[in-house]
Symmetry: C2
Subunit: 334 residues, 2 copies
């Protein structure tokens, strides 16, 4: 029975944990026509799900991909994990990033669900083998790590553990594609997968810059969005640096750059201590920078910008735009 995991796209999904990430999954699943049963003990869960769904519809409208009302999957709020997952063939776990909570939740899902259903954890940090330790059916556990806003950014990092079956990974990859995503197969289990390791490195460096009074949160943000951020929306750092190497390409670039690696440019040899004072500094600088807009307004601005850039890349037949083009060609979402 463990050997015939469904290879078809999900037809009945469940979401356990409905914060911003879980709600983002729910929105993407429903906009793709899939019914979702959801569980989250927080009294605010339905509000979050509704707000995120509204944002997601606006974003898909910007992409000219908004489905008709009757093509949107249903939402059923459930009182227990068992109720949510019992009939699902695809279960997304997005509870807070604490191992004890992840384990307890995954064990409950494992016990209450069809053993062939795929369990996909949204964890940003844990290895799938660690998450799978207490499970009876570890072969169907996979990490599917998305990026906020989940209903809009195409990337999902897909990582299998030691016991995860290949067909489960393949099935998950296909499912994510059917949701209009770009699944990136991460071949090795490491803490924080790939993208969050890069983000963590930037975050630490940025904290130092604020702590040392070199730059404010707004200045750091501007150093990103008026410069290399525009490059990285369409090419990553290696392809960008390949160009910087000129006709000598990557080999020329890296040979030049090599020397700098041992320069004392970064403070990352230490971990900055997150004191109350540093938290205050960052929080008040962030208020100064963005406090004139509510988080809801910022979300809408972000989504409108990202959607507009994805449409621009679609016209150029490149990168994230190609994912949108595939969604449109499939027409499955209309």
């Amino acid at each position: 029975m463990d050997d015939d995991t469904a290879a078809a796209p999900a037809t009945a999904a469940a979401a356990v944990g409905c914060g911003v990430i879980g709600a983002g999954w729910i929105a993407r699943l429903r906009l793709s026509g899939i019914d979702v049963r959801a569980y989250d003990p927080a009294p605010t869960a339905l509000d979050v799900i509704t707000q995120v769904h509204d944002n997601a519809r606006l974003a898909w409208r910007e992409l000219d991909l908004e489905p008709d009302d009757d093509a949107i999957g249903s939402l059923t709020m459930c009182a227990t994990i068992d109720e949510a997952v019992a009939e699902a063939d695809f279960i997304v776990e997005s509870v807070p990033e604490r191992l004890d909570l992840k384990h307890a939740t995954l064990v409950a899902i494992d016990a209450a669900s069809i053993p062939t259903a795929i369990i996909a954890s949204s964890t940003s940090g844990f290895k799938p083998s660690v998450l799978a330790e207490p499970l009876t059916h570890p072969r169907r556990l996979v990490v599917g790590h998305p990026f906020n806003p989940v209903y809009l950014l195409p990337l999902v990092e897909v990582v299998g553990g030691a016991d995860t079956a290949d067909d489960v990974i393949e099935c998950a990859m296909g499912l994510y594609r059917s949701l209009g995503m770009h699944p990136l197969r991460v071949r090795a289990e490491i803490d924080a997968h790939i993208a969050d390791r890069l983000l963590e490195a930037v975050w630490r460096e940025a904290l130092w810059l604020v702590k040392d009074g070199i730059a404010t949160t707004e200045e750091i943000d501007d150093s990103i969005r008026y410069g290399f951020g525009l490059r990285w929306a369409q090419m990553g750092l290696f392809e960008t640096y390949r160009i910087a190497g000129g006709l000598g390409g990557m080999r020329h670039f890296i040979s030049q750059f090599g020397e700098c690696l041992s320069w004392p440019w970064t403070k990352l040899m230490d971990v900055p201590e997150l004191t109350d004072e540093l938290i205050d500094t960052i929080a008040s600088q962030s208020d100064e920078q963005s406090g004139h807009l509510t988080v809801r307004e910022l979300e809408r601005i972000r989504d409108r910008n990202v959607a507009a850039m994805m449409l621009a890349l679609e016209r150029n037949e490149w990168g994230a735009g190609q994912v949108v083009a595939e969604m449109r060609q499939r027409g499955a979402v209309r």
Copy 2:
């Protein structure tokens, strides 16, 4: 005489060092209607300048900002630094990143130019106070660090040294604005300024991922361009994380995130050794990833994508798009 540095935009510019960065400055200056006299001892300099200028015209055409032929500043190639800088009121230095070479070049510029002319170094790493050490007129030296492609990305980091006059910095800021850029005043001198410190942190982490066989150059690039790269083209990391904090904002986000700072997620405590083997691995993975396109083709694709995203952001009246809108409103470039 040192006290009346011209406050008006440049009318006669010089460029010393004409690689990809210097040539990018020349293109931006000329497309903004400013005549440029250029010096570079490399026999290929004019080829580079011409190729970059052609790319820049195409990019400005994409932005619907291409000037008529007769509105483009002239280019005069010079046989010596003296010839290039003698009459200029704005001088850009973009020679390779070696302190001895920077010093020799800046001393020559300092001696041969009008003492009130601004000297702007493109250095990505050195502090202006260090660059200014051997100069007779250090008050007019400023760092103006641009990002490739210089003719397209708005960001320029502006840093003054201990002896740099405030009016020189103000004048440089105004000049960069007149070139359609977003000058970011960096208030403290540190090696690598701001953006390159963030880039350096990512680069080191990425090298570890490749070295350890966790991910290829293409997989790392995809983890950027299908995910957080799209966010960073329009908001930086702090504004993005403010949203992730939900209604609790930045304070909530950072308090949650704090714990992770001491997790062993990053390899950045060490500097990876750039062995021949690692260089080979990266160069061949990069060939595999992008070798089907020439660097020229990659440049055009990048520029077309960045221009299209900037136009999309202009329609949304946001970020880098607002810089384009200002260029258009000024009409000075037409």
